[in-house]
């Protein structure tokens, strides 16, 4: 059956290559794990040791009002360079924007054993309260009162009390056309600083650990706005 689908997909209208590259920033500086010290909204210095998140349900918006939908999930990990680039085949046409979710939708949280990006071996899965961890941001700050001055934000949850799936919708400055030749590249900025200040500024001394639904929605509302378009070319 899968082979049949694969065969059928070759018969769809021809198109071009499309890549999405995620560039991780902290504010206006490129993110460097472990070594560079940043400051949060409270002036508390910190380093980042881990930054990874799920992206899925990608919709490319055509100017004719239709969407091209991709069903795969991607685990983007600062520590794994290849994971920061997604290669897609897209049909010819004119495109004006992109939508995707940060997280994993309800269906894929309730589907049992899965592979690829959704393999629990990736350590982005809660076993005791089934569900994927959508985003992990970990680091150190002297302001944190946790053991080793660490902070860790493991955000997930596809249902009440904290649905942390967040929709991202970005417009391109200029629509672009995909034809049968060449590759279009979309470069997105993911600003980790937003996770700590988007709509609620996070104080490491009072909230250094989020690993279940408590306070999860606060962080999710922050990461909702962390993406922006750097360039399309």
């Amino acid at each position: 059956m899968a082979a049949l689908w694969a065969a059928m997909s070759f018969t769809k209208p021809s198109g071009g290559k499309f890549t999405i590259t995620f560039h991780h920033y902290v504010g206006d500086k490129l993110l460097q794990l472990d070594t560079v010290i940043y400051n949060n909204a409270f002036g508390q210095p910190f380093t980042i040791t881990k930054f990874k998140y799920y992206v899925g349900n990608i919709h490319l918006k055509k100017t004719n009002g239709t969407d091209v939908v991709f069903n795969d999930y991607y685990l983007v990990d600062e520590d794994e360079s290849p994971s920061k680039k997604i290669d897609l085949d897209i049909p010819t046409g004119e495109y004006s924007g992109i939508e995707f979710i940060i997280g994993v939708d309800s269906l894929h949280n309730c589907s049992g054993a899965q592979s690829g990006a959704l393999d629990p071996v990736n350590a982005m899965f809660w076993a005791w309260n089934t569900g994927y961890i959508f985003l992990k941001l970990e680091g150190k700050s002297p302001a944190s009162k946790s053991s080793g001055n660490v902070f860790e934000y493991h955000i997930g949850g596809y249902k009440a009390p904290a649905n942390c799936i967040r929709q991202v919708s970005l417009r391109f400055a200029q629509p672009f056309t995909v034809n049968n030749a060449g590759t279009k590249e979309l470069h997105l900025k993911a600003d980790a600083a937003e996770i700590l200040k988007g709509s609620t500024a996070i104080d490491f001394s009072t909230l250094s650990s989020v690993t279940d639904f408590h306070n999860a929605a606060t962080i999710a509302n922050n990461y909702m706005g962390m993406f922006s378009v750097l360039s399309v070319n």
Binding site: G112, A113, D119, P120, F125, A127, W128, N129, T130, G131
Partner: protein, 348 residues
């Protein structure tokens, strides 16, 4: 013709000798008939339907081996079967709370395993939403097996026998979490208990004594609204009026839902094979079924937030309890407990 017969006989003889030498015991051979999913008469449609996980003898046998192999735990001391013991209907006999590696004690009573494909959620708090991902919870829990699935895979990859068994089950030698979890789901999913005296009575194959009939009648009047037949649970979470254990501080369902209204609610457990699964309740506080019935029949002792069904039971007389006990013993399914398919393959 004669030549052919001789040839077949010779092959049979060779097989007998080979099997004799390699120690393959017919008792452990699993056929496709053994892994056919048979929904018992009167049972509802199962929740888990082996979609994308069609049972095969090889996958079932792999799942069975993994279930009984302590390789799933960090220090290779604890298997699934350490706590889910067949002789205790896959509960933990005479242990109030679960035991993990390094002598650690958990905070909940090991639930008996049976009829899992009818469950929409697992654990006393319903935190796990799918049969296939259920094993990840005990495997990764620091006070149970304290292991990562990535490391389980590494260990299995160093075991030539397992590599062959994964090939036999899935057609290639790669070992993945998906294969591990799906094979465990086949083994545990096929643990169907539906051949107790109660079942035979319902099918008209056996009769009940007057005491058992009285017990059934009282059960249906006072217990069945939560312990719904034929699964003997309605798969809901309820507060049964027990005083919270101040040492365990276990709030149950609300840890999953975040809803205060769910404080001290726990899954209504099935009562099948209850004779074998002592001690009782989510924290194993009652050693005997009689203690359980004493609690349920004493509304004056309930905590105020007990579910309203608890108050509908009313006071149970000693005679009521005797009849109920007699009935509950009819839920023991010996053919399930002694089913050769579920026997520890490491003892062969």
């Amino acid at each position: 013709m004669k030549k052919k017969t001789v040839a077949i006989l010779s092959i049979l003889a060779v097989c007998t000798i080979l099997f004799g030498f390699t120690g393959v015991n017919k008792y452990f051979i699993i056929t496709s008939e053994d892994v056919a999913v048979k929904i018992p008469k009167g049972f509802p449609k199962p929740h888990y339907r082996f979609k994308n996980n069609k049972p095969s003898p090889e996958i079932f046998v792999l799942g069975r081996k993994l279930f009984y192999d302590p390789i799933l735990s960090k220090d290779s001391t604890i298997s699934c079967a350490s706590c889910h013991q067949r002789i205790a209907a896959f509960g933990h006999i005479d242990h109030a709370l679960s035991h993990g590696i390094n002598g650690l004690i958990g905070k909940r009573n090991v639930p008996a395993l049976q009829n899992l494909i009818w469950k929409d959620a697992f654990m006393w708090d319903g935190g796990v939403n799918h049969l296939e991902v259920q094993p990840l919870s005990p495997i990764t829990n620091p006070i149970e097996m304290n292991e990562s699935i990535a490391h389980v895979i590494e260990k299995l990859k160093h075991n030539k026998q397992y590599i062959e068994e994964f090939r036999a089950a899935f057609g290639d030698t790669s070992i993945t979490s998906e294969k591990i979890l799906k094979s465990l789901a086949q083994f545990t999913g096929l643990m169907i208990s539906a051949n107790s005296r109660y079942d035979k009575f319902m099918r008209g194959e056996d009769t009940f004594s007057m005491a058992e009939l009285n017990g059934l009648e009282i059960f249906r009047e006072k217990c069945a609204s939560c312990h719904e037949e034929p699964l003997f649970t309605d798969n809901t979470y309820r507060n049964n009026g027990l005083k919270p254990d101040t040492a365990l501080k276990d709030k149950g369902r609300s840890a999953i839902t975040g809803d205060q209204f769910d404080d001290y609610k726990f899954l209504v457990p099935s009562l099948r094979n209850i004779e074998m699964t002592y001690p009782y309740m989510h924290d194993g506080r009652f050693r005997k079924l009689k203690n359980v019935l004493d609690h349920y029949g004493s509304p004056q002792n309930f905590t105020p937030l007990a579910t309203k069904e608890m108050y509908e039971i009313g006071t149970l007389t000693e005679q009521d309890k005797k009849y109920l006990l007699t009935f509950l013993l009819t839920l023991t399914d010996k053919s399930f407990i002694y089913d050769r398919r579920f026997v520890d393959p490491f003892v062969q």
